[in-house]
């Protein structure tokens, strides 16, 4: 993509990396959390549900600042993790963490809805045929919620690509390190003559978002057809 400048290209590549890691690493947690919220009854469930959804309703700057407090070099978690060689502050991993946390509610919601649509009597049937809980999940529940997982992952990826407020608050806007697509667009708009670069990145954003959406629609339809058998 020669029409993108080095800084623009860097921002696109970084955003894809950040969003990809954020989605991939949070997916197992998202599935587990969706299962807990869809199937378990326990005291404090509404509290857990609220905590999961908090990033959706809090101002992103607040989430970013809380992340900074917890995972910054001075933060209680950040210091501990840094001693284990894992650093978030002003690092692309921090951008991925912020994106993952901001996207988590959307992911959990989509997966949870698909779990609630699974007929528990089918899982019961699988159990009568000798399947353990793990096997019931792997052979019945998981295949049936794949469209939901896919939808959740795509939503989370799109949200992660576009995350701005929490990211810039938590890990700032360092080109090549934490300057994702939206941060780059913002930065280009701050300097005279940056509009052309900003516009090119806007086009890239639209193309990536549309590609993600269309491919997920296509895959979801194929999976749904498999499940419905039509």
């Amino acid at each position: 993509m020669s029409w993108l400048g080095p800084q623009e290209w860097q921002a696109v590549a970084l955003s894809l990396k950040v969003a990809g890691w954020a989605t991939a690493l949070s997916l197992p947690f998202g599935i587990a959390m969706a299962l807990v919220l869809a199937r378990w009854q326990f005291p404090g469930k509404q509290l857990v549900n609220g905590l999961v959804h908090l990033p959706l309703i809090l101002p992103p700057v607040v989430t970013g600042y809380l992340l900074l407090l917890a995972f910054g070099t001075q933060g209680w978690l950040g210091a501990a993790l840094q001693s284990m060689g894992l650093s978030f502050a002003f690092h692309w991993t921090g951008a991925a963490l912020a994106a993952a946390i901001m996207a988590f509610p959307l992911m959990v919601r989509a997966i949870r809805l698909s779990i609630e649509a699974v007929d528990p009597r089918l899982e019961q049937a699988a159990a009568t045929f000798g399947a353990s809980r793990t096997w019931v999940f792997l052979t019945v529940t998981l295949p049936m919620i794949l469209p939901g997982i896919l939808a959740g992952a795509v939503l989370a990826f799109a949200k992660a690509m576009g995350e701005f407020g929490a990211t810039i608050t938590f890990v700032s806007n360092i080109p090549g390190q934490t300057q994702t697509l939206p941060s780059a667009i913002y930065a280009f708009l701050q300097v005279p003559g940056g509009e052309a670069s900003a516009l090119r990145l806007v086009v890239v954003s639209i193309v990536i978002a549309m590609a993600a959406l269309l491919s997920s629609e296509f895959l979801a339809r194929r999976l749904a057809q498999r499940v419905a058998g039509s």
């Binding site: 009597r121 089918l122 019961q124 049937a125 699988a126 159990a127 009568t128 045929f129 000798g130 399947a131 353990s132 096997w135 052979t139 019945v140 295949p143 049936m144 498999r226 499940v227 419905a228 058998g229 039509s230």
Partner: protein, 366 residues
């Protein structure tokens, strides 16, 4: 292999307190809806934990409240045929059939997939998914899946209730084949006397959570005081053999020494069948009637007259064909002077015996 069940469980409105034995063959758990049948079968499957009792299948204790044993469903070695089929929608028919055997112990006696597929006539469906199957086809696949799970106990919870009459008639023969193909107990929940008459080796009648009767099917169905689903379901079950098919669309049977003509059934001469003759389809006459359209007239001796609270009475006749029941009004019974020992003729219209009343004979002693 025998299933032995004893359990107690509080249900809304009544207490389930049932004990029965299901020998190999097909045991119908017979009762009205709300009599506790489904609770019993769920307790046997392990989907419900009864408050007290003991369930033993072929010497294996599945549940024992005093010893604190309650095996989870997956350890009970079941083949469950659900009412709505419950086929896995994301798997093909072949994968559905194979599902149970993935989890069966390595050393379990396995049915041959090809043989089961052939027995159920589902060879052409193997690559389809459940959504592409008709109701009857789904029911057949559900039977196959249960059979292929190498079960030590087969459970069926009103497997035909969701099907219309022609579909039921289509599936019943497959349950007969299932019954004759396996030597594990089959516990079959039903509220249909026709299904009991065709399938049952043993019947357990459940009323308001209690076992009121258990025994052979023919005996139970012929007693109006027992039949829990009402007097309209009372009928006799005769063992017969196909003699020949006539060109006018009738099939000639011989039951005992009496000939019966019924609408043509598609089975080879020489085949043994069971026919169910509903009591309300039988007329009685003291003298042998002449100039009558009905083809089946059997002479017999009145064994018993049984009246309930209604205007009707059930007359049971001992005939060369076996016991036949007739439901007539008490007024007619008096007018004819019917009493124990009196000889009279039972008249059965051929067309009253519908194909679904004709089943393959049970290969097991009943």
């Amino acid at each position: 292999m025998t299933l032995s069940v004893r359990l107690r469980h509080n249900l809304p409105g009544f207490i389930l307190d049932a004990a029965f034995e299901a020998p190999p063959g097909l045991t119908v758990l017979f009762g009205r809806s709300g009599s506790g049948k489904t609770t019993v079968i769920n307790a046997v499957a392990g989907l419900l934990r009864p408050q007290a009792g003991r369930i033993v299948a072929g010497g294996r204790v599945l549940f024992d409240s005093t010893q604190g044993i309650c095996l989870p469903p997956r350890q009970r070695r079941l083949g469950y045929i659900f009412q709505e089929g419950r086929l896995f929608p994301h798997l093909t028919v072949r994968q559905n059939l194979a599902y149970g055997r993935w989890f069966a112990p390595r050393d379990a006696a396995r049915e041959d997939m090809g043989r089961v597929v052939e027995m159920l006539g589902i060879g052409h469906l193997l690559t389809r998914r459940p959504a592409q199957l008709s109701g009857g086809e789904k029911a057949r696949v559900a039977i196959g899946r249960a059979l292929l799970a190498a079960p030590q106990l087969i459970l069926a919870d009103e497997p035909l209730a969701a099907l219309d009459e022609p579909r039921k008639a289509e599936i019943l023969p497959y349950f007969e084949r299932l019954r004759d193909a396996v030597n594990v107990p089959i516990l079959y929940v039903s509220h249909s006397a026709a299904e009991v008459a065709r399938l049952a080796t043993t019947v357990v009648v459940l009323e308001e959570g209690r076992v009121t009767h258990q025994g052979a099917a023919a005996e139970l169905l012929s007693d109006p005081r027992i039949s829990p689903t009402g007097v309209r379901e009372v009928g006799a079950v005769l063992e017969a053999r196909i003699v020949t098919h006539h060109t006018d669309g009738l099939t000639e049977l011989i039951a005992g020494t009496a000939a019966f003509f019924i609408p043509r059934i598609d089975r080879a001469p020489g085949t043994s069948v069971r026919i169910r003759i509903a009591a309300h389809d039988v007329m009685l006459a003291r003298d042998r009637p002449t100039g009558l359209s009905a083809l089946n007239i059997v002479e017999g001796r009145v064994e018993q007259l049984r009246s309930g609270t209604g205007p009707g009475t059930i007359v049971s006749l001992d005939t060369p064909a076996g016991r036949i029941l007739a439901r007539v009004t008490r007024r007619s019974a008096e007018a004819l002077g019917l009493a124990e020992g009196v000889r009279c003729h039972a008249i059965v219209k051929s067309v009253a015996i519908a194909p679904q009343d004709v089943g393959a004979a049970d290969s097991l002693p009943s």
